[in-house]
């Protein structure tokens, strides 16, 4: 995950690669986001709600 745009530089004076392109070119960062977001929003939030269901009076 360390190597980014830098490794692909050619001899010609290169235009700086925009942040979004660097994000899209980084499979492991995408993997991290794609696992963490649903884990937090869907699973953890959901499990917390299930855990908080009260006892019926």
């Amino acid at each position: 995950m360390v190597e980014n745009a830098g490794t692909e530089q050619s001899a010609a004076p290169a235009e700086r690669i925009p942040f979004m392109q660097r994000l899209l070119d980084n499979p492991f960062l995408l993997l991290f986001l794609g696992v963490v977001i649903p884990t937090v929003i869907y699973i953890l939030w959901g499990v917390m709600e299930i855990a908080q269901i009260p006892l019926m009076k």
Binding site: E8, A14, I17, P18, I53, P54, L55, M56, K57
Partner: protein, 184 residues
């Protein structure tokens, strides 16, 4: 082509055609409309599933339904032996799911609001009221209180639409809706 790397090294800065941008904008706005439609309905719509729920012991729930049935049974359904129960108008009504029946039969009055308790004493079942087509998932150990107001008179089938074993297709129940002050 889509099977080759992008032609330019920095493709993020390539211009996007207007037609594509317009479509993206339409899709985005449509998404917002659909999102806020659900929120809108919570405030202004009349069909929102109740969030009133509690954990309950299976035997405790069963006893609640038996007590309810003993108190308000008005007749038996033909020769089936299934009691027909008429809960107090505007009060609590109980229905129990178990393999393979919905028990007891309820008789409700049109236009009156009831607190319908749903739970299962064994597996998961699917409360499917037909032909109205209201479908609610029923879990063992979770007592769900749905506030519901029947708007039409008649005999309504309650079907199980969550697979619950080899007798799943015989698992039915019934709700009668009568004009206010009638039935019983």
């Amino acid at each position: 082509m889509a099977i080759h790397p992008p032609q330019s090294r920095v493709w993020w800065n390539e211009p996007v055609a207007k037609g594509e941008l317009v479509w993206i904008a339409i899709a985005f706005v449509w998404g917002l409309i659909m999102f806020f439609m659900m929120i809108y309905w919570h405030y202004y719509g009349k069909q929102n599933l109740s969030s009133e729920v509690g954990r309950v012991d299976l035997a405790v729930y069963e006893q609640k339904v038996i007590d309810f049935t003993d108190a308000y049974t008005v007749r038996e359904e033909g020769d089936t032996g299934v009691p027909v129960v008429k809960p107090p108008v505007g009060g609590d009504a109980y229905m129990l799911a178990r393999t393979f029946e919905w028990w007891p039969i309820l008789e409700l009055e049109k236009g009156k609001t009831y607190r319908l308790h749903l739970s299962s004493v064994d597996l998961q079942h699917g409360f499917s009221l037909q032909p109205t087509n209201i479908n609610i998932q029923v879990h063992p150990g979770l007592e769900h209180v749905v506030t519901v107001t029947p708007t039409e008179v008649g005999s309504f089938g309650v079907i199980c639409n969550e697979y619950c074993g080899l007798g799943h297709h015989v698992m039915t129940g019934r709700i009668y809706v009568v004009e206010p002050g009638q039935g019983g």
